[in-house]
Amino acid sequence: MRKGIDRRDFIKLASIGGAVFASGLGFDVQAKSHGKHGHKLTPEDFYFAQLSDTHWGFNGAMVNPESANTLHMAVRNLNSLQNQPDFIVFTGDLTHTTDDPQERRRRMQEFRTIVDGLRVKNLKFIPGEHDASLDKGAAYQEFFGDLHYSFDHKGLHFIVLDNVSDPNAVLGQLQLDWLKSDLEQLPISAPIVVLTHRPLFDLYPQWDWHTRDGQAAIDLLMPHTQVAIFYGHIHQEHRHMSGHIAHYAAKSLIFPLPAPGSVPKRAPLPWDANRPFAGLGYRTIEAYPRKASYEIDEKLLSTGEQL
């Protein structure tokens, strides 16, 4: 039995503004059985949730007067789902940055305490520049573990990339070498999901929406025929293709940002009292390895908002 969101759950989410877009990525099922080095990937349908850019500790009433409640709201929302996701990923900027190392750790501890209240206990964390750039990820690692890593789940190979702990917004040669080695363990047709914070491609460098050496990672991924990348950083949905590789940006859970290059400054969009939580949300991603497709559901925190 598939453990995705059932219709009752979906209607519940829709009542707080849920909406859907779907994406068939054409994953090749036969890829999952055997890796080059006995790497076993067993295909099975499941879904996971992506939360991004929660910026715990942010304080700005003009942008989000409910900043102390928004993450709690998302946690309640997720906990209310009858069928729980297999795991939840947080794609960076878990906390809002601070110069004070003690305050940074306090925010991380609070964030950790809040998300430990999720019914799902399998949580995967990815650093954002607000978490990790000022101390090269030292505090982040104390609370959330490794900065980059990979794991397998029911037929999919997940790769977490860190493009923030170096404040220059680079992956660095060491990590690229690790990525190359990780990919060498997989058959070319293995389904791969990359999780990261910044876009790996040059979305809009004028707003720092890129990774300086991201193309090197894309080049390593390019020979693999079934790759999807989920990221955050830009506080809005966005889709982009690098050849056959799909990049999906997620909404934020603190404030939305304007579309790339649509205005002179990348300032947060102001809070709309008539539409509280507009532009904020999270998403669930249903993976159908056997049907060779994904389905992405965008969940909005605002009431009555349309995508």
């Binding site: 809002h96 940055t97 601070t98 110069d99 520049e129 607000h130 750039s133 000022l134 923030v164 404040p167 220059n168 917004a169 460098p205 004028q206 707003w207 720092d208 300086r212 002179p264 400054k265 990348r266 300032a267």
Partner: protein
């Protein structure tokens, strides 16, 4: 025979490089200098006007932290370590408004650290 040809070629390349380098050094000293201070989370000035084809030296000095200085559309980027004056020769070849920004994360407010260069034809 082959080695003498190679030597001649290397000499030509070296001489050409030396001339070009000397010309750059000489001309750079005569160029107008625009000093830009970089501090969290502003550049001062943050609006600069130039004329198309007019070469200038941008002299960037970070006062409080390591900052970056990047103009993606003009293929310019440098690190600006605290306390050093970093010089960049810029000759805009096209008119328009070009954003420059800090591309090294420097704290809460980093996202606001930007400015623009207006180039008139």
């Amino acid at each position: 025979m082959k080695s003498s040809l190679l030597l001649t070629l290397l000499l030509l390349i070296f001489n050409g490089f030396s001339t070009a380098y000397a010309a750059t050094q000489a001309s750079e000293a005569e160029l107008p200098v625009i000093s830009i201070q970089a501090s969290r989370f502003v550049y001062s000035p943050n609006k600069i006007k130039l004329k198309q084809g007019q070469s200038v030296v941008l002299e960037i000095e970070a006062t409080d932290h390591l900052h970056g200085f990047s103009i993606p559309e003009l293929k310019v980027r440098v690190d600006a370590p605290q306390g050093q004056k970093i010089r960049v020769v810029l000759t805009p070849t096209k008119a328009g408004v070009f954003v420059f920004y800090c591309d090294i994360f420097c704290g809460s407010g980093h996202e606001e650290m930007s400015g623009e260069i207006s180039v008139e034809s």
